[in-house]
Protein backbone atom coordinates (compact mmCIF):
# COMPACT_ATOMS: atom_id res chain seq x y z
CA UNK A 1 0.00 0.00 0.00
CA UNK A 2 2.77 2.38 0.95
CA UNK A 3 4.49 1.64 -2.36
CA UNK A 4 1.30 2.40 -4.24
CA UNK A 5 0.89 5.67 -2.35
CA UNK A 6 4.40 6.77 -3.17
CA UNK A 7 4.10 5.88 -6.84
CA UNK A 8 0.54 7.15 -7.20
CA UNK A 9 1.02 10.47 -5.43
CA UNK A 10 4.37 10.95 -7.15
CA UNK A 11 2.82 10.29 -10.53
CA UNK A 12 0.05 12.73 -9.72
CA UNK A 13 2.50 15.42 -8.62
CA UNK A 14 4.55 15.06 -11.75
CA UNK A 15 1.63 15.27 -14.09
CA UNK A 16 -1.11 17.45 -12.58
CA UNK A 17 0.00 20.62 -14.32
CA UNK A 18 -0.39 19.35 -17.85
CA UNK A 19 -3.44 17.76 -19.33
CA UNK A 20 -1.74 15.26 -21.66
CA UNK A 21 0.57 13.51 -19.17
CA UNK A 22 -2.10 13.55 -16.50
CA UNK A 23 -4.70 11.93 -18.70
CA UNK A 24 -2.05 9.46 -19.88
CA UNK A 25 -1.33 8.58 -16.25
CA UNK A 26 -5.02 8.12 -15.46
CA UNK A 27 -5.65 6.04 -18.54
CA UNK A 28 -2.69 3.76 -17.91
CA UNK A 29 -3.56 3.19 -14.30
CA UNK A 30 -7.19 2.57 -15.11
CA UNK A 31 -6.12 0.07 -17.76
CA UNK A 32 -4.42 -1.90 -14.97
CA UNK A 33 -7.66 -1.94 -13.09
CA UNK A 34 -9.57 -3.55 -15.95
CA UNK A 35 -7.34 -6.62 -16.00
CA UNK A 36 -9.08 -9.39 -14.07
CA UNK A 37 -7.11 -10.12 -10.94
CA UNK A 38 -6.75 -13.85 -11.53
CA UNK A 39 -5.44 -13.18 -15.02
CA UNK A 40 -2.95 -10.57 -13.83
CA UNK A 41 -1.67 -12.80 -11.06
CA UNK A 42 -1.35 -15.60 -13.58
CA UNK A 43 0.55 -13.48 -16.08
CA UNK A 44 2.92 -12.28 -13.39
CA UNK A 45 3.94 -15.85 -12.56
CA UNK A 46 6.16 -15.57 -15.64
CA UNK A 47 8.46 -12.78 -14.54
CA UNK A 48 7.95 -12.89 -10.79
CA UNK A 49 7.12 -16.52 -10.06
CA UNK A 50 4.79 -17.61 -7.28
CA UNK A 51 4.60 -15.94 -3.90
CA UNK A 52 4.68 -12.59 -2.18
CA UNK A 53 6.50 -10.57 -4.86
CA UNK A 54 3.91 -11.49 -7.44
CA UNK A 55 0.97 -10.49 -5.25
CA UNK A 56 2.63 -7.32 -4.08
CA UNK A 57 3.30 -6.18 -7.62
CA UNK A 58 -0.25 -6.85 -8.71
CA UNK A 59 -1.74 -5.05 -5.71
CA UNK A 60 0.39 -1.97 -6.34
CA UNK A 61 -0.87 -1.83 -9.92
CA UNK A 62 -4.47 -2.07 -8.80
CA UNK A 63 -4.07 0.54 -6.09
CA UNK A 64 -2.60 3.09 -8.46
CA UNK A 65 -5.69 4.38 -10.23
CA UNK A 66 -7.68 5.89 -7.36
CA UNK A 67 -4.56 7.38 -5.81
CA UNK A 68 -3.15 8.83 -8.99
CA UNK A 69 -6.45 10.18 -10.17
CA UNK A 70 -7.37 11.76 -6.87
CA UNK A 71 -3.92 13.30 -6.57
CA UNK A 72 -4.23 14.88 -10.01
CA UNK A 73 -7.78 16.06 -9.43
CA UNK A 74 -6.93 17.38 -5.98
CA UNK A 75 -3.78 19.24 -6.95
CA UNK A 76 -5.24 20.73 -10.11
CA UNK A 77 -8.44 21.67 -8.30
CA UNK A 78 -6.80 24.09 -5.89
CA UNK A 79 -8.39 27.53 -6.32
CA UNK A 80 -6.41 29.42 -8.93
CA UNK A 81 -6.62 32.69 -7.00
CA UNK A 82 -4.86 31.02 -4.08
CA UNK A 83 -2.13 29.70 -6.35
CA UNK A 84 -1.85 33.14 -7.93
CA UNK A 85 -1.48 34.75 -4.52
CA UNK A 86 1.21 32.25 -3.57
CA UNK A 87 3.16 32.88 -6.74
CA UNK A 88 2.73 36.61 -6.28
CA UNK A 89 4.25 36.29 -2.83
CA UNK A 90 7.31 34.71 -4.34
CA UNK A 91 6.76 31.06 -3.46
CA UNK A 92 8.73 28.75 -5.69
CA UNK A 93 6.91 26.01 -7.53
CA UNK A 94 8.14 23.35 -5.09
CA UNK A 95 7.25 25.42 -2.05
CA UNK A 96 3.83 26.14 -3.51
CA UNK A 97 3.30 22.41 -4.05
CA UNK A 98 4.29 21.39 -0.54
CA UNK A 99 2.94 24.27 1.50
CA UNK A 100 -0.20 25.05 -0.45
CA UNK A 101 -1.34 22.54 -3.04
CA UNK A 102 -0.70 19.31 -1.15
CA UNK A 103 -2.27 20.49 2.13
CA UNK A 104 -5.32 21.77 0.28
CA UNK A 105 -5.62 18.67 -1.89
CA UNK A 106 -4.88 16.34 1.01
CA UNK A 107 -8.47 15.33 1.85
CA UNK A 108 -9.01 14.35 -1.79
CA UNK A 109 -5.72 12.46 -2.01
CA UNK A 110 -6.45 10.68 1.23
CA UNK A 111 -9.87 9.58 0.06
CA UNK A 112 -8.18 8.10 -3.03
CA UNK A 113 -5.82 6.17 -0.78
CA UNK A 114 -8.78 5.01 1.26
CA UNK A 115 -10.64 3.67 -1.76
CA UNK A 116 -7.50 1.92 -2.97
CA UNK A 117 -6.99 0.24 0.35
CA UNK A 118 -10.53 -1.10 0.45
CA UNK A 119 -10.19 -2.40 -3.06
CA UNK A 120 -6.92 -4.23 -2.70
CA UNK A 121 -7.82 -5.83 0.59
CA UNK A 122 -10.44 -7.70 -1.39
CA UNK A 123 -8.09 -8.49 -4.25
CA UNK A 124 -5.35 -9.60 -1.85
CA UNK A 125 -7.41 -12.66 -0.94
CA UNK A 126 -7.07 -13.92 -4.50
CA UNK A 127 -3.31 -13.63 -4.07
CA UNK A 128 -3.48 -17.02 -2.36
CA UNK A 129 -4.08 -18.45 -5.81
CA UNK A 130 -0.42 -17.82 -6.68
CA UNK A 131 0.83 -18.86 -3.21
CA UNK A 132 0.69 -15.37 -1.79
CA UNK A 133 0.38 -14.87 1.93
CA UNK A 134 -2.76 -13.94 3.83
CA UNK A 135 -6.30 -14.85 4.64
CA UNK A 136 -7.07 -15.82 1.08
CA UNK A 137 -5.42 -19.14 1.92
CA UNK A 138 -8.18 -19.90 4.43
CA UNK A 139 -10.79 -19.28 1.79
CA UNK A 140 -9.08 -21.31 -0.91
CA UNK A 141 -8.33 -24.21 1.45
CA UNK A 142 -11.89 -24.20 2.57
CA UNK A 143 -13.20 -24.12 -0.99
CA UNK A 144 -10.78 -26.84 -2.10
CA UNK A 145 -12.19 -29.32 0.37
CA UNK A 146 -15.72 -27.98 0.24
CA UNK A 147 -18.20 -30.31 1.87
CA UNK A 148 -15.65 -31.57 4.37
CA UNK A 149 -15.93 -30.86 8.09
CA UNK A 150 -15.57 -27.19 8.93
CA UNK A 151 -14.76 -26.27 5.33
CA UNK A 152 -17.59 -23.76 5.22
CA UNK A 153 -16.48 -22.33 8.55
CA UNK A 154 -12.97 -21.90 7.22
CA UNK A 155 -14.26 -19.97 4.22
CA UNK A 156 -16.47 -17.81 6.42
CA UNK A 157 -13.67 -17.09 8.86
CA UNK A 158 -11.37 -16.02 6.03
CA UNK A 159 -14.02 -13.80 4.51
CA UNK A 160 -15.14 -12.36 7.83
CA UNK A 161 -11.61 -11.56 8.85
CA UNK A 162 -11.02 -9.74 5.56
CA UNK A 163 -14.16 -7.67 6.05
CA UNK A 164 -13.10 -6.81 9.60
CA UNK A 165 -9.62 -5.81 8.42
CA UNK A 166 -11.16 -3.62 5.75
CA UNK A 167 -13.38 -1.92 8.31
CA UNK A 168 -10.49 -1.40 10.69
CA UNK A 169 -8.44 0.21 7.94
CA UNK A 170 -11.34 2.44 7.06
CA UNK A 171 -11.62 3.52 10.66
CA UNK A 172 -7.89 4.21 10.73
CA UNK A 173 -8.23 6.48 7.71
CA UNK A 174 -10.98 8.45 9.38
CA UNK A 175 -8.62 9.04 12.29
CA UNK A 176 -5.71 9.91 9.98
CA UNK A 177 -7.95 12.34 8.12
CA UNK A 178 -8.89 14.10 11.36
CA UNK A 179 -5.28 14.32 12.43
CA UNK A 180 -3.69 15.44 9.18
CA UNK A 181 -6.23 17.79 7.62
CA UNK A 182 -5.95 21.43 8.62
CA UNK A 183 -8.80 22.68 10.74
CA UNK A 184 -9.07 25.60 8.37
CA UNK A 185 -10.35 23.45 5.51
CA UNK A 186 -12.14 20.67 7.33
CA UNK A 187 -15.77 20.40 6.34
Amino acid sequence: MAIAVIIGVGLGMLTYRHSLPSSLATTTTSAFLTIPSIALLGILIGPLGLGTANVLFALVLYALLPITRNTIVGLAGVDSSIVDAGRGMGMSRALLLWRVRVPLAWPVILSGIRVSTQMIIGIAAIGAYVSGPGLGNEIFHGLARFGAVNSLNQVLIGTGAIVIIALLFDLAYVVIDRLTTSRGIRA
Partner: protein, 373 residues
Protein backbone atom coordinates in the same frame (compact mmCIF):
# COMPACT_ATOMS: atom_id res chain seq x y z
CA UNK B 1 9.22 64.59 -8.18
CA UNK B 2 9.88 64.54 -4.45
CA UNK B 3 13.25 62.84 -4.31
CA UNK B 4 13.24 62.89 -0.57
CA UNK B 5 10.81 60.04 -0.38
CA UNK B 6 12.45 58.12 -3.15
CA UNK B 7 14.01 55.04 -1.77
CA UNK B 8 16.78 53.71 -3.89
CA UNK B 9 16.81 50.38 -2.13
CA UNK B 10 16.87 47.68 -4.72
CA UNK B 11 13.75 45.55 -4.55
CA UNK B 12 15.93 42.48 -4.35
CA UNK B 13 17.71 43.68 -1.25
CA UNK B 14 17.10 41.65 1.84
CA UNK B 15 14.86 43.38 4.34
CA UNK B 16 16.50 45.76 6.74
CA UNK B 17 17.99 43.73 9.56
CA UNK B 18 16.04 43.38 12.77
CA UNK B 19 13.94 46.43 12.12
CA UNK B 20 10.84 44.77 13.51
CA UNK B 21 12.35 43.86 16.84
CA UNK B 22 13.96 47.22 17.36
CA UNK B 23 10.72 49.02 16.73
CA UNK B 24 9.23 50.75 19.73
CA UNK B 25 5.71 49.59 20.49
CA UNK B 26 3.08 51.82 19.00
CA UNK B 27 5.47 53.35 16.51
CA UNK B 28 4.33 53.83 12.97
CA UNK B 29 4.96 50.72 10.89
CA UNK B 30 6.70 52.77 8.24
CA UNK B 31 10.31 51.98 7.67
CA UNK B 32 10.73 51.54 3.98
CA UNK B 33 9.27 54.28 1.85
CA UNK B 34 8.34 53.69 -1.73
CA UNK B 35 10.44 53.17 -4.82
CA UNK B 36 9.83 54.56 -8.26
CA UNK B 37 8.43 52.24 -10.89
CA UNK B 38 9.21 52.79 -14.54
CA UNK B 39 7.68 50.90 -17.40
CA UNK B 40 9.61 51.56 -20.57
CA UNK B 41 7.95 50.60 -23.81
CA UNK B 42 6.55 47.41 -22.31
CA UNK B 43 4.61 45.08 -24.59
CA UNK B 44 2.90 41.79 -23.92
CA UNK B 45 1.92 39.69 -26.86
CA UNK B 46 0.28 36.30 -26.42
CA UNK B 47 1.12 33.68 -29.00
CA UNK B 48 -1.69 33.20 -31.48
CA UNK B 49 -3.19 36.63 -30.89
CA UNK B 50 -2.82 39.36 -33.45
CA UNK B 51 -3.30 42.34 -31.17
CA UNK B 52 -0.97 42.69 -28.20
CA UNK B 53 -2.58 42.54 -24.76
CA UNK B 54 -0.42 45.43 -23.69
CA UNK B 55 0.85 47.69 -26.45
CA UNK B 56 4.04 49.66 -25.79
CA UNK B 57 3.15 51.18 -22.46
CA UNK B 58 5.51 53.70 -20.93
CA UNK B 59 4.62 54.85 -17.46
CA UNK B 60 6.52 56.37 -14.60
CA UNK B 61 5.19 56.07 -11.10
CA UNK B 62 6.75 58.33 -8.51
CA UNK B 63 7.92 56.93 -5.21
CA UNK B 64 5.31 57.04 -2.49
CA UNK B 65 2.35 57.63 -4.80
CA UNK B 66 -0.80 55.66 -5.32
CA UNK B 67 -1.33 55.28 -9.01
CA UNK B 68 -4.62 53.79 -10.10
CA UNK B 69 -4.84 51.94 -13.38
CA UNK B 70 -8.45 52.25 -14.38
CA UNK B 71 -10.14 50.90 -17.47
CA UNK B 72 -12.86 48.53 -18.66
CA UNK B 73 -12.58 44.77 -18.23
CA UNK B 74 -10.13 43.21 -20.62
CA UNK B 75 -8.19 46.41 -21.32
CA UNK B 76 -4.99 44.87 -20.05
CA UNK B 77 -4.72 46.73 -16.76
CA UNK B 78 -4.25 43.58 -14.72
CA UNK B 79 -1.77 42.23 -17.26
CA UNK B 80 0.15 45.49 -17.00
CA UNK B 81 0.27 45.14 -13.24
CA UNK B 82 1.19 41.48 -13.24
CA UNK B 83 4.20 42.25 -15.39
CA UNK B 84 5.52 44.41 -12.58
CA UNK B 85 5.90 41.38 -10.33
CA UNK B 86 6.52 39.11 -13.27
CA UNK B 87 3.53 36.87 -12.81
CA UNK B 88 3.36 37.65 -16.49
CA UNK B 89 6.60 38.07 -18.40
CA UNK B 90 6.63 40.98 -20.83
CA UNK B 91 7.39 40.24 -24.46
CA UNK B 92 9.54 43.32 -24.77
CA UNK B 93 10.42 46.47 -22.90
CA UNK B 94 11.97 47.26 -19.56
CA UNK B 95 10.58 47.45 -16.05
CA UNK B 96 12.59 49.32 -13.45
CA UNK B 97 11.72 49.43 -9.78
CA UNK B 98 13.92 51.73 -7.74
CA UNK B 99 16.21 51.85 -10.75
CA UNK B 100 16.73 48.08 -10.85
CA UNK B 101 15.75 46.13 -13.94
CA UNK B 102 13.38 43.58 -12.47
CA UNK B 103 13.54 41.36 -15.53
CA UNK B 104 17.12 40.56 -14.62
CA UNK B 105 16.24 39.46 -11.09
CA UNK B 106 15.19 36.03 -9.95
CA UNK B 107 11.40 36.11 -10.33
CA UNK B 108 10.57 34.49 -6.97
CA UNK B 109 13.11 36.64 -5.14
CA UNK B 110 11.66 39.72 -6.79
CA UNK B 111 8.07 38.86 -5.88
CA UNK B 112 8.97 38.47 -2.23
CA UNK B 113 9.92 42.15 -2.25
CA UNK B 114 6.76 43.36 -3.90
CA UNK B 115 3.53 43.31 -1.92
CA UNK B 116 0.62 41.75 -3.77
CA UNK B 117 -3.05 41.99 -2.82
CA UNK B 118 -5.80 40.41 -4.90
CA UNK B 119 -9.56 40.63 -4.92
CA UNK B 120 -10.33 37.16 -3.62
CA UNK B 121 -7.88 37.78 -0.75
CA UNK B 122 -5.90 34.68 -1.74
CA UNK B 123 -5.40 33.80 1.90
CA UNK B 124 -4.34 30.21 2.42
CA UNK B 125 -7.36 28.59 4.04
CA UNK B 126 -5.33 25.84 5.71
CA UNK B 127 -3.03 28.24 7.52
CA UNK B 128 -3.80 30.35 10.54
CA UNK B 129 -3.86 34.13 10.17
CA UNK B 130 -0.44 34.47 11.78
CA UNK B 131 1.08 31.92 9.40
CA UNK B 132 -0.48 33.64 6.42
CA UNK B 133 0.99 37.00 7.35
CA UNK B 134 4.35 35.56 8.37
CA UNK B 135 4.88 33.60 5.16
CA UNK B 136 6.94 36.10 3.19
CA UNK B 137 9.15 37.14 6.13
CA UNK B 138 9.88 33.45 6.77
CA UNK B 139 10.75 32.93 3.09
CA UNK B 140 13.11 35.87 3.37
CA UNK B 141 14.84 34.11 6.22
CA UNK B 142 13.59 36.13 9.17
CA UNK B 143 13.81 34.41 12.51
CA UNK B 144 10.66 32.96 14.07
CA UNK B 145 10.83 35.50 16.88
CA UNK B 146 11.15 38.47 14.54
CA UNK B 147 8.39 37.20 12.27
CA UNK B 148 6.05 36.70 15.22
CA UNK B 149 6.72 40.22 16.43
CA UNK B 150 6.08 41.61 12.99
CA UNK B 151 2.83 39.66 12.63
CA UNK B 152 1.63 40.96 15.97
CA UNK B 153 2.52 44.50 15.02
CA UNK B 154 0.70 44.25 11.69
CA UNK B 155 -2.42 42.79 13.25
CA UNK B 156 -2.48 45.79 15.58
CA UNK B 157 -2.04 48.11 12.60
CA UNK B 158 -5.03 46.64 10.76
CA UNK B 159 -7.13 46.70 13.89
CA UNK B 160 -7.45 42.98 14.55
CA UNK B 161 -6.25 42.23 18.09
CA UNK B 162 -3.54 39.53 17.79
CA UNK B 163 -4.77 37.72 20.88
CA UNK B 164 -8.10 37.18 19.17
CA UNK B 165 -7.12 36.70 15.58
CA UNK B 166 -3.60 35.30 15.22
CA UNK B 167 -4.64 31.69 15.72
CA UNK B 168 -7.83 31.79 13.70
CA UNK B 169 -8.27 30.41 10.21
CA UNK B 170 -9.29 32.68 7.31
CA UNK B 171 -12.78 31.23 7.05
CA UNK B 172 -13.45 32.27 10.62
CA UNK B 173 -13.11 35.92 9.59
CA UNK B 174 -15.56 38.22 7.80
CA UNK B 175 -14.86 39.30 4.24
CA UNK B 176 -13.65 42.72 5.33
CA UNK B 177 -11.37 41.22 7.96
CA UNK B 178 -9.95 38.77 5.44
CA UNK B 179 -9.18 41.62 3.06
CA UNK B 180 -7.40 43.48 5.86
CA UNK B 181 -5.32 40.39 6.52
CA UNK B 182 -4.56 40.28 2.80
CA UNK B 183 -3.19 43.80 3.02
CA UNK B 184 -1.23 42.96 6.17
CA UNK B 185 0.27 39.92 4.47
CA UNK B 186 1.41 42.05 1.55
CA UNK B 187 2.96 44.54 3.98
CA UNK B 188 4.63 41.87 6.09
CA UNK B 189 8.15 42.15 4.74
CA UNK B 190 7.82 45.91 4.35
CA UNK B 191 8.15 46.01 0.57
CA UNK B 192 8.71 49.38 -1.11
CA UNK B 193 6.11 48.59 -3.74
CA UNK B 194 2.60 47.18 -3.42
CA UNK B 195 0.47 45.91 -6.24
CA UNK B 196 -3.25 45.79 -5.54
CA UNK B 197 -5.63 44.15 -7.99
CA UNK B 198 -9.18 45.33 -7.21
CA UNK B 199 -8.43 44.65 -3.56
CA UNK B 200 -11.76 45.88 -2.26
CA UNK B 201 -13.86 44.75 -5.20
CA UNK B 202 -15.48 41.79 -3.51
CA UNK B 203 -16.73 43.63 -0.43
CA UNK B 204 -20.05 45.37 0.13
CA UNK B 205 -20.15 49.16 -0.39
CA UNK B 206 -20.04 50.05 3.31
CA UNK B 207 -17.14 47.73 4.08
CA UNK B 208 -15.37 48.88 0.94
CA UNK B 209 -15.65 52.50 1.96
CA UNK B 210 -14.24 51.71 5.38
CA UNK B 211 -11.39 49.63 3.97
CA UNK B 212 -10.53 52.39 1.51
CA UNK B 213 -10.39 55.00 4.25
CA UNK B 214 -8.33 52.76 6.51
CA UNK B 215 -5.96 52.02 3.72
CA UNK B 216 -5.49 55.67 2.80
CA UNK B 217 -4.78 56.48 6.43
CA UNK B 218 -2.23 53.67 6.57
CA UNK B 219 -0.63 54.78 3.36
CA UNK B 220 -0.15 58.29 4.71
CA UNK B 221 2.14 56.74 7.33
CA UNK B 222 3.77 54.19 5.08
CA UNK B 223 4.41 56.14 1.91
CA UNK B 224 4.64 53.01 -0.24
CA UNK B 225 4.53 53.15 -3.98
CA UNK B 226 1.22 51.58 -4.83
CA UNK B 227 -0.19 50.40 -8.11
CA UNK B 228 -3.91 49.95 -7.76
CA UNK B 229 -6.07 48.34 -10.40
CA UNK B 230 -9.80 48.92 -10.56
CA UNK B 231 -12.60 49.30 -13.09
CA UNK B 232 -14.50 51.60 -10.75
CA UNK B 233 -13.78 55.23 -11.59
CA UNK B 234 -15.20 56.48 -8.30
CA UNK B 235 -12.71 54.27 -6.47
CA UNK B 236 -9.94 55.56 -8.72
CA UNK B 237 -10.83 59.16 -7.84
CA UNK B 238 -10.81 58.36 -4.18
CA UNK B 239 -7.66 56.26 -3.98
CA UNK B 240 -5.41 57.75 -6.62
CA UNK B 241 -2.76 60.41 -6.27
CA UNK B 242 -2.69 59.93 -9.99
CA UNK B 243 -4.91 58.00 -12.34
CA UNK B 244 -3.94 56.33 -15.55
CA UNK B 245 -7.05 55.88 -17.67
CA UNK B 246 -6.36 52.89 -19.90
CA UNK B 247 -7.96 52.10 -23.21
CA UNK B 248 -7.83 48.80 -25.11
CA UNK B 249 -4.36 47.16 -25.20
CA UNK B 250 -3.48 49.13 -22.10
CA UNK B 251 -2.91 52.33 -24.05
CA UNK B 252 -2.76 55.30 -21.69
CA UNK B 253 -5.51 57.73 -22.62
CA UNK B 254 -4.70 60.12 -19.81
CA UNK B 255 -2.33 60.06 -16.87
CA UNK B 256 -2.92 62.82 -14.37
CA UNK B 257 -4.24 63.76 -10.98
CA UNK B 258 -7.92 63.05 -10.32
CA UNK B 259 -8.69 66.77 -10.26
CA UNK B 260 -6.99 67.41 -13.56
CA UNK B 261 -8.71 64.49 -15.25
CA UNK B 262 -12.12 65.68 -14.07
CA UNK B 263 -11.39 69.26 -15.02
CA UNK B 264 -10.02 68.49 -18.46
CA UNK B 265 -10.63 64.99 -19.82
CA UNK B 266 -8.10 64.34 -22.58
CA UNK B 267 -10.63 62.89 -25.01
CA UNK B 268 -14.11 61.42 -25.41
CA UNK B 269 -12.99 58.05 -24.15
CA UNK B 270 -11.89 59.56 -20.84
CA UNK B 271 -15.06 61.65 -20.64
CA UNK B 272 -17.19 58.58 -21.15
CA UNK B 273 -15.28 56.88 -18.40
CA UNK B 274 -15.87 59.74 -16.02
CA UNK B 275 -19.54 59.49 -16.87
CA UNK B 276 -22.11 62.09 -15.91
CA UNK B 277 -21.68 64.51 -13.08
CA UNK B 278 -18.01 65.18 -13.64
CA UNK B 279 -18.22 68.63 -12.10
CA UNK B 280 -20.03 67.26 -9.06
CA UNK B 281 -17.22 64.75 -8.70
CA UNK B 282 -14.74 67.62 -8.81
CA UNK B 283 -16.59 69.30 -5.97
CA UNK B 284 -16.28 66.01 -4.12
CA UNK B 285 -12.51 66.24 -4.37
CA UNK B 286 -12.33 69.78 -2.96
CA UNK B 287 -12.31 70.20 0.76
CA UNK B 288 -13.86 73.04 2.68
CA UNK B 289 -10.61 73.15 4.64
CA UNK B 290 -8.85 74.32 1.49
CA UNK B 291 -11.59 76.65 0.33
CA UNK B 292 -11.65 80.38 0.91
CA UNK B 293 -14.41 81.07 3.40
CA UNK B 294 -16.47 84.19 3.86
CA UNK B 295 -16.52 85.88 7.27
CA UNK B 296 -18.97 84.49 9.79
CA UNK B 297 -22.31 86.21 9.23
CA UNK B 298 -24.02 88.16 12.01
CA UNK B 299 -26.89 85.76 12.51
CA UNK B 300 -26.17 82.10 12.56
CA UNK B 301 -29.44 80.56 11.53
CA UNK B 302 -27.84 78.83 8.56
CA UNK B 303 -27.22 75.08 8.50
CA UNK B 304 -23.80 73.98 9.65
CA UNK B 305 -21.31 71.65 8.07
CA UNK B 306 -17.97 70.34 9.30
CA UNK B 307 -14.82 71.75 7.79
CA UNK B 308 -13.68 68.19 7.04
CA UNK B 309 -16.48 67.82 4.47
CA UNK B 310 -16.12 68.40 0.74
CA UNK B 311 -17.64 71.19 -1.35
CA UNK B 312 -19.94 68.51 -2.74
CA UNK B 313 -21.26 67.88 0.76
CA UNK B 314 -21.77 71.64 1.17
CA UNK B 315 -23.78 71.79 -2.04
CA UNK B 316 -25.82 68.83 -0.92
CA UNK B 317 -26.62 70.58 2.35
CA UNK B 318 -27.63 73.75 0.46
CA UNK B 319 -30.00 71.76 -1.73
CA UNK B 320 -31.37 69.90 1.24
CA UNK B 321 -31.96 72.99 3.37
CA UNK B 322 -32.99 75.33 0.55
CA UNK B 323 -30.40 77.88 1.71
CA UNK B 324 -27.75 79.26 -0.59
CA UNK B 325 -25.34 79.71 2.30
CA UNK B 326 -24.00 77.28 4.90
CA UNK B 327 -21.79 77.81 7.93
CA UNK B 328 -18.51 75.96 8.11
CA UNK B 329 -17.76 74.82 11.64
CA UNK B 330 -15.53 72.45 13.56
CA UNK B 331 -18.38 69.98 13.68
CA UNK B 332 -22.05 69.70 12.75
CA UNK B 333 -23.47 69.96 16.24
CA UNK B 334 -23.71 73.75 16.21
CA UNK B 335 -21.64 74.00 19.37
CA UNK B 336 -18.17 73.93 17.91
CA UNK B 337 -16.29 76.95 16.61
CA UNK B 338 -17.67 78.47 13.39
CA UNK B 339 -14.89 79.25 10.94
CA UNK B 340 -16.85 81.04 8.26
CA UNK B 341 -19.49 80.61 5.62
CA UNK B 342 -19.66 79.47 2.03
CA UNK B 343 -22.19 80.37 -0.64
CA UNK B 344 -23.50 78.72 -3.76
CA UNK B 345 -21.64 81.12 -6.03
CA UNK B 346 -18.40 80.32 -4.15
CA UNK B 347 -18.83 76.71 -5.21
CA UNK B 348 -19.28 77.78 -8.82
CA UNK B 349 -16.24 79.99 -8.57
CA UNK B 350 -14.23 77.12 -7.11
CA UNK B 351 -15.01 74.96 -10.13
CA UNK B 352 -14.26 77.79 -12.56
CA UNK B 353 -11.05 78.94 -10.89
CA UNK B 354 -9.30 75.70 -10.17
CA UNK B 355 -6.24 75.36 -12.35
CA UNK B 356 -6.78 72.31 -14.48
CA UNK B 357 -4.45 69.76 -15.91
CA UNK B 358 -1.19 70.64 -14.24
CA UNK B 359 0.56 67.33 -13.66
CA UNK B 360 3.16 68.95 -11.43
CA UNK B 361 0.44 69.54 -8.86
CA UNK B 362 1.78 68.77 -5.46
CA UNK B 363 1.16 65.04 -5.24
CA UNK B 364 1.49 65.11 -1.47
CA UNK B 365 -1.70 67.13 -1.19
CA UNK B 366 -3.63 63.93 -0.76
CA UNK B 367 -7.33 64.38 -0.72
CA UNK B 368 -9.20 63.53 2.35
CA UNK B 369 -10.43 59.96 2.07
CA UNK B 370 -13.80 60.81 3.50
CA UNK B 371 -14.38 63.48 0.89
CA UNK B 372 -17.20 62.72 -1.44
CA UNK B 373 -18.07 59.47 0.26
Amino acid sequence: MPDTVLNSRSPSDPTPPDSATSLAPGAAPARTGGATIQLLDVTKRYPGQVAPAVDHITLEIAAGEIVVLVGPSGCGKTTTMKMMNRLIEPTSGQILIGGTDVLKLDADEHRRNVGYVIQQTGLFPHMRIAENIGLVPRMLGWSKRKTADRVEELLEVIGLPPGDYARRYPRELSGGEQQRVGVARALAADPPVMLMDEPFGATDPITRDRLQNEFLRLQRELGKTIVFVTHDFAEALKMGDRIAVLGPHSIIEQYDTPKAILAAPANDYVSSFIGSGGQLKRLGLMRLRDAELRPVPAHKHFPQITIEASLHDALDLMLESGQSKVLVAADESGEGEVFGAIRLDDLMAAIADEPAGDPSDDPTAKLDPSAGS
